[in-house]
Amino acid sequence: MKQRPAADLSALPTYGIGPRSPTWWGTLGFMALEGTGFALAAGAYLYLALSWPQWPLGAPRPNHWPGTIVTLLLIVSLVPNHMLNRYAEQCAIMPVRIGLVVMSLLGIAPLVVRWFEFPALNIYWDTNAYGSMLWVLLGLHTTHLITDVGDTIVLTVLMFTRHGNSGRRFGDVGDNVFYWDFVVASWIPIYLLIYWTPRLG
């Protein structure tokens, strides 16, 4: 088939950030599917809670303090997270490096407290379905927390190498910021579900 030149793209930039970049959309896609997973797990909890009048099946109330501390830590971490985002948009390498170190630490901190959350549930996963659901919900979120923190640490190391100084990498930092927002946002409903719904009944 014959061709005729109709557009010259040579002046286009070679990277873009945020919704301009495919990676951002990919991240959004994964957030959508993981979010669906969270929603369904939460739905399963509510389904069981509504099926049994005696929910939470005579179990003691969970101690909400470790969970509340995690929540606060996560919310606080949003501030440096978004500062990091701005630096990444400006392609400022030093502030980005510092920001990533801070975010790695702020990722590890809630994980440490999370360790104490499991015993604070005051029930085991194999005691009854209520216990199972609490552990499942907490476990599901913890998995996301761990993978995202791992991701952040790897990215931090990467930004300290010679590969760091490229537009693409700054875009990756932006996507990492975006994903952390998701990890924080998905925690809030789970936190309410685990610690506060049992207190309603």
């Binding site: 301009r20 990919g26 379905a129 199972s132 590969h163």
Partner: protein, 656 residues
């Protein structure tokens, strides 16, 4: 919008000017002004899959991955089909002693699981992996390494399931594996775990493909392919991918819950400890119903493509078809309870699901009407692909209408879990999806192989398939109404189901032979067929603009799209874009709605790491059937392989 608008100054000014500490952008030779031969040499060097075994295992070319997917899925169709043949022989007469209950239960479970998870979903996605980048005019799928990874995960899942079948350890609980039958108490051994874990494999792979497809369609469309110019097939794949994204997590949750109940003693589905067996059904069907549209919607896209090529006109009601695809996608999430009418749910609630199930017939009907309207201009060009489309309308409408019958709560109470339902879903699955797929094979395989399949054999194939299929499955409606439940390995003689089952088996045998003929025709065509040329059917969409088979880089120059049927609209010369680098894998990223060119982005280079990552992930899944600690031990190798995957290697594609 005319093609010159695309390059106006305003569009091309980068929105965020590079600043800060950015390393200076490196540049390389561009395609502007290169003659065809030089351009081909450059692009081939940059985009090819490297020779040798490592090269093959590292390939990230969407066409290579799709071909593997297609072949593998076809193999699973044959295996699943052979399961079916074995079942049909056992059922051909009352009290046949060929196959005992234990084997029979594995057979129908493996048949269902193989057909749904290892054949139908992968094959429609694979077709998309092949065609979508070509149809939207780009050089590779988005996230090509993720795409390669998805294939490896998919084959591991398939091999895993079939290896356990060979060891007589295959699941025997049906393709939806209801608890408590599959639970810790009544499902001893590892059989139900095999079910749950193989779901996880296929899950991960189809989610990955779905995300890659969505991003390809959103961001990699050729300049000018605004939303209204996207081909219907691409729309179908886009909607399907969205359905995958929101449906598959449900079965992921289901199978994870099941594994937890079985492995670590949680009680999520155990009614004795505050769990509930029906919760499993809700979760499963929240996935399971959309699943059937995941299989069906891509087929409607194929039908649209084939019809427009042979009716020699754009499909009537393009917008209506797009809207009905979207409507079906949405509605498919509101129907799941119609699989549970016999569980004794409150009558009023159940009636709601009757209404929603009826509702989905409206967009489905609209699709049928639009196709009929497209065909109604006059006698179309009748070739094998179109014959299969005719077969599709004939059978799918029967299946859809029996769907409407079973959507009625009271009526369903008589036919639920009988051969009537078996008939319904084979009519929609085979009539609605396999027939279009067969038509698509005749239509698009020439693009893959560069050679035509035999038209004469194609017609024989069609008539054998059509007659065999209807002879096998139509009588199932009846035997279901006469009281024959599904999933029985035998039945007593005095119920009078013997003759009709023999007839069904005979039909299935004819249908089987039609597949043998098809296999022959494919192989013969691929090796000996007449050369196809770029556009054997004189069709209008972009995949026909390039050679058959397409080069590794798909298009020497990225097309600029001015019409929904670009090849029909631009018969003299196809407008193309210039200015891309030829020494790096550059492709055009465009804006979501209008497809204005926005970025020249690099596509990932070949890598062996996706394979390693798949091995690490696959081994972890496998091991986790035996101990929950597998997840902990597997984390390290998975992390290592993922770092290997993402760590930049200094290619131009990795930087910038």
């Amino acid at each position: 919008m005319s093609s010159s608008d695309l390059t106006s100054e305003r569009d091309l000014v980068p929105q965020a000017t590079p600043k800060g500490d950015l390393a200076p952008e490196r540049d390389g030779p561009r395609d502007t002004g290169l003659d065809d031969a030089t351009l081909h040499r450059w692009l081939e060097r940059t985009w090819r899959t490297k020779p040798g075994i490592i090269g093959a295992l590292s390939s990230v070319d969407h066409k290579v991955v799709a071909r593997r997917y297609l072949v593998t899925a076809f193999v699973f169709l044959c295996l699943g089909g052979l399961n079916a043949v074995a079942m049909r022989i056992q059922l051909s007469g009352p009290q046949r002693g060929l196959i005992g209950p234990d084997l029979y239960n594995q057979l129908f479970t493996m048949h269902g699981v193989t057909m749904m998870f290892l054949f139908a979903v992968p094959i429609v996605q694979a077709t998309g992996i092949y065609l979508v980048p070509l149809m939207v005019g780009t050089r590779n799928i988005a996230f090509p390494r993720l795409n390669a990874f998805s294939y490896w995960i998919y084959v591991s899942g398939g091999i895993f399931a079939w290896a356990s079948f060979a060891l007589s350890m295959a699941p025997d609980v049906g393709w939806f594996a209801y608890v408590p039958l599959s639970g810790p108490e009544f499902g001893p051994g590892k059989r139900a775990d095999v079910w749950a874990q193989m779901i996880t494999y296929t899950e991960v792979s189809s989610l990955a493909v779905a995300v890659a497809t969505i991003v390809t369609v959103f961001k990699q469309r050729a300049p000018g392919m605004s939303l209204d110019k996207i081909p219907l097939y691409v729309w179908a794949m886009l909607v399907t991918s969205f359905v995958v994204v929101f449906a598959m997590p449900a079965v992921m949750i289901t199978s994870t819950f099941l594994i937890l109940d079985r492995l670590v003693g949680t009680h999520i589905f155990n009614p004795a400890e505050g769990g509930d067996a029906l919760l499993f059904q809700h979760l499963f069907w929240f996935f399971g119903h959309p699943e059937v549209y995941i299989i069906f919607l891509p087929a409607t896209g194929m039908v649209s493509s084939i019809i427009s090529a042979f009716a020699r006109r754009p499909v009537f009601g393009h917008l209506g078809l797009v809207l009905s695809l979207i409507a079906v996608g949405f509605l498919s999430f509101g129907l799941w309870v119609h699989h549970m009418f016999a569980t004794g749910l409150p009558k009023l609630g159940a009636s709601f699901f009757t209404a929603s199930s009826m509702l989905i017939a409206i967009p489905n009907g609209l699709q049928i009407f639009c196709w009929l309207a497209t065909l109604s201009d006059g006698r179309p060009v009748i070739r094998t692909p179109l014959l299969f489309v005719f077969g599709f309308v004939f059978t799918f409408v029967i299946g859809g209408l029996t769907g409407v019958m079973v959507a009625s709560v009271p009526l369903d109470l008589q036919v639920h879990d009988t051969y009537f339902v078996v008939a319904h879903f084979h009519y929609v699955l085979i009539g609605g999806s396999v027939f279009p797929l067969l038509g698509a094979a005749y239509f698009w395989l020439p693009k893959l192989t560069g050679r035509m399949m035999s038209e004469r054999l194609g017609r024989w194939h069609f008539w054998m398939a059509f007659i065999g299929f209807n002879a096998a499955f139509f009588p199932m409606h009846l035997v279901g109404l006469w009281g024959m439940p599904r999933r029985v390995y035998t039945y007593p003689a005095e119920l009078g189901w013997g003759n009709i089952n023999l007839f069904i088996t005979a039909g299935a045998a004819v249908f089987f032979l039609s597949f043998v003929l098809f296999t022959f025709n494919m192989l013969h065509g691929a090796l000996r067929g007449a050369p196809a040329g770029n556009n054997p059917w004189d069709a209008g969409t972009l995949e026909w603009a390039t050679t058959s088979p397409p080069p590794s880089y798909n298009f020497a120059r990225i097309p600029v799209v001015t019409h929904a049927e670009p090849l029909w609209a631009e018969r003299e010369a196809l407008p193309v874009a210039t200015g891309l680098r030829v020494d790096a894998r550059e492709l055009v990223i465009s804006t979501v709605a209008e497809a204005r060119p926005d970025i020249r982005e690099k596509s990932a280079t070949p890598s062996i790491w996706p394979l390693f990552a798949a091995i690490a992930v696959g081994a972890t899944f496998l091991y986790s059937i035996f101990t929950p600690w597998a997840v902990v031990w597997g984390a390290l190798p998975i992390a290592i392989t993922l770092i290997g995957w993402f760590w930049p290697k200094g290619d131009p594609e990795d930087e910038e």
